[in-house]
């Protein structure tokens, strides 16, 4: 068994990277939904992931519900948190400036972190993998069955969102708010409700990300900030606001992080994604798939 080839090893890093990258992609998609409707970057996006994981632990291990029932319940609970966030922290701000919105979302982020520490304590929690932990050997790489769940849910989310924004009235109304909120309200769209819906949707996606990743990497109260920064990195890499960009950005970022940690230095694992973020911000802030013209007309 000691014949671990370099090729196999690289493949292993790539598979792990794509799995982690799928989580970043989900966070990035969450950023984009809120950004597209409100032009707010929600610094608490990572806390939704953390809450998703820990709430699932509560529903499954705490309340004794089977996974299949705990899953939707968790998503609903975290979605409520997202809606409350909009109602209690974002909407009451009377003079919305970039700075006040950033401060408000950071405030929510540390509030949620503090609440999670209060409820769940500081220890990391585990969840059972959805379909067991018997690894599959594939071209010399060890693949956990849970990896397929993570990637599968990413694909599902992307398909569902594409359908939602392109084919449903509600989704089109949300896109209209993004283009021009004043014009949208003139044609009878309730902009405030659309903003709340955006927070609800991205909280729900964050929750899914947290639920599916917990069996792989455990979950604890202070994971949110790092997930948020890396998710933002993915969103920027793919061009802020673009859904295909978010997915590509997340997968690329995950792969870079995994390869960097494996081949260069595991101690600097978290730094790779951040360096990529800085390089993209410095040299091409519109991202790989982004449109520089679109980023210019945005208010913030």
């Amino acid at each position: 068994m000691e014949t671990i080839t370099l090729g196999g090893q690289l493949f292993q890093y790539l598979i792990t990277g794509i799995t982690v990258g799928s989580i970043y992609a989900m966070v990035a998609v969450g950023f984009n939904i809120i950004y597209n409707v409100t032009e707010i970057i929600n610094f608490a996006q990572g806390e939704f992931v953390m809450l998703g994981g820990l709430m699932m632990v509560f529903c499954h291990a705490g309340m004794g519900l089977p996974l299949i029932m705990a899953f939707p319940l968790t998503v609903i609970l975290v979605t409520l948190v997202g809606m409350l966030m909009d109602r209690l922290a974002i909407r009451p701000i009377r003079q919305p400036t970039v700075l006040s919105l950033i401060i408000a979302t950071i405030a929510v982020s540390i509030l949620l972190k503090g609440a999670a520490m209060f409820i769940w304590g500081k220890d990391p929690f585990d969840l059972p993998a959805f379909s067991g932990r018997n690894p599959i050997m594939f071209f010399g790489a060890v693949i956990q069955p849970q990896y397929f769940w993570v990637i599968g849910f990413l694909i599902l989310i992307v398909i569902a969102l594409t359908f939602f924004f392109d084919r449903t009235i509600l989704g089109k109304a949300m896109s209209a708010c993004a283009d021009n909120p004043d014009a949208a309200s003139l044609v009878g769209i309730n902009v405030k409700r659309m903003i709340m819906l955006a927070f609800a949707l991205s909280a729900a996606i964050g929750a899914v990300a947290g639920i599916v990743v917990t069996p792989i990497s455990l979950m604890e109260y202070d994971r949110g900030a790092m997930l948020a920064v890396k998710g933002f990195g993915a969103a920027v890499l793919g061009g802020l606001g673009s859904f295909p960009g978010a997915v590509m950005g997340g997968l690329i970022l995950g792969a870079i992080e995994s390869l960097g940690a494996g081949l260069i230095s595991s101690g600097y694992k978290d730094a790779f994604a951040l360096i990529v973020l800085l390089v993209v911000l410095f040299f091409k802030p519109s991202g790989i798939f982004g449109d520089i013209e679109i980023s210019r007309i945005k208010r913030f």
Binding site: F43, S100, I102, I110, G267, P285, F300
Partner: protein, 322 residues
């Protein structure tokens, strides 16, 4: 709000001089001089950030990095190489200014959320470096054996002497910053805050001023870090994590970042909250901070420094037409 006369500065100076005497007389607040040393250290950072964020309107969520760079340069050069602490403090300032220039020039082209995230990422990267470069920084365990400070052979070996040193720096930074704000540079910064395109149309070199104020705030943070290292005689990375950058944000939001007074008041109140008044909450203070930050951003957008203006607004609404 913009005009800061001589009288308030004299009052601040007198307050600084008599504070340790008062604290010594009242046993209940005897330890307040120690807390005020930290308040002064934080004040140095918030004064610089007030110019950067309040006056120039640029967002940084990464100044813990410069605070840490100052502290670690001082710590490494004095404890490992036995160099003169004042010289090391100066080296720390040069290093911070250099890094601020390097990071600031491309970052400050970014606006709003992008700038906030860029500074945030920068702060986390530096924090990771502090943790990983164990042979220099001692890693997560930190490093001890940093010597104290002395001036011309006169050891600053008591809390009170150190208090005067730190607050002397604060006073100097405050007076310097007041002069900056009231000079042409201050007007340029405020013009940038209102509208970058308008400012540059009026002939303000926008990027130069933004980078300059960023470097200035980094220099003050670095100085604060060096003072911290020599006071504690010990540094570890946890002091300079992302949460410290957020704490700086809380200080500024609480006091009011649009005035230099707000920066001083915010740092002072926050220090007493975290070192003295929130002990009851222990590690759950993070929850309290979140609540404070949210309440301030919703109800007091100008921070505590804006409260007198708000009260004046309520009382004299019919008369004043500002």
């Amino acid at each position: 709000m913009l005009k800061i006369g001589k009288l308030p500065i004299v009052i601040l100076a007198v307050f600084i001089i008599i504070f340790p005497w008062i604290a010594r007389l009242i046993p209940a607040i005897a330890n307040y001089t120690d807390i005020m040393v930290f308040a002064g250290i934080y004040c140095l950072i918030t004064i610089g950030l007030s110019l950067l964020m309040g006056y120039a309107g640029q967002i940084s969520v990464g100044h813990a990095a410069f605070y840490g760079i100052g502290a670690y340069v001082s710590a490494i050069l004095t404890a490992r190489f036995g160099l003169n602490p004042w010289g090391c403090m100066f080296v720390g300032i040069l290093v911070s200014a250099g890094i601020a220039l390097l990071v600031g020039a491309p970052s400050l082209k970014l606006r709003g959320h992008y700038l906030a995230m860029a500074t945030l990422a920068f702060g986390i990267i530096i924090y990771i470096v502090f943790n990983q470069e164990t042979q220099w920084t001692g890693g997560p365990d930190g490093m001890a054996g940093i010597p104290g400070l002395s001036i011309f052979g006169f050891d600053l070996d008591s809390v009170e002497k150190y208090f005067y040193l730190v607050w002397g720096f604060v006073l100097a930074a405050f007076i310097f910053s007041v002069n900056v704000v009231q000079s042409g540079a201050g007007r340029a910064l405020r013009a940038i805050h209102s509208s970058e395109s308008a400012a540059s149309a009026m002939g303000v070199n926008v990027s130069k001023f933004k980078v300059m104020v960023f470097v200035y705030s980094a220099v003050l943070a670095s100085l604060a870090g060096s003072l911290y290292a020599h006071y504690m005689n010990f540094v570890n990375p946890a002091t300079f994590d992302l949460f410290f950058s957020i704490k700086l944000l809380i200080m500024l939001a609480l006091g009011g970042m649009y005035t230099l007074w707000g920066a001083v008041i915010g740092a002072g109140i926050f220090t007493f909250l975290s070192y003295e008044w929130l002990h009851y909450f222990k590690e759950f203070e993070v929850f309290v901070y979140g609540a404070i930050l949210l309440v301030v951003v919703i109800f007091l957008p100008q921070g505590l420094a804006g409260v007198p203006g708000m009260i004046k607004g309520w009382l004299g609404r019919p008369k004043s037409n500002e």
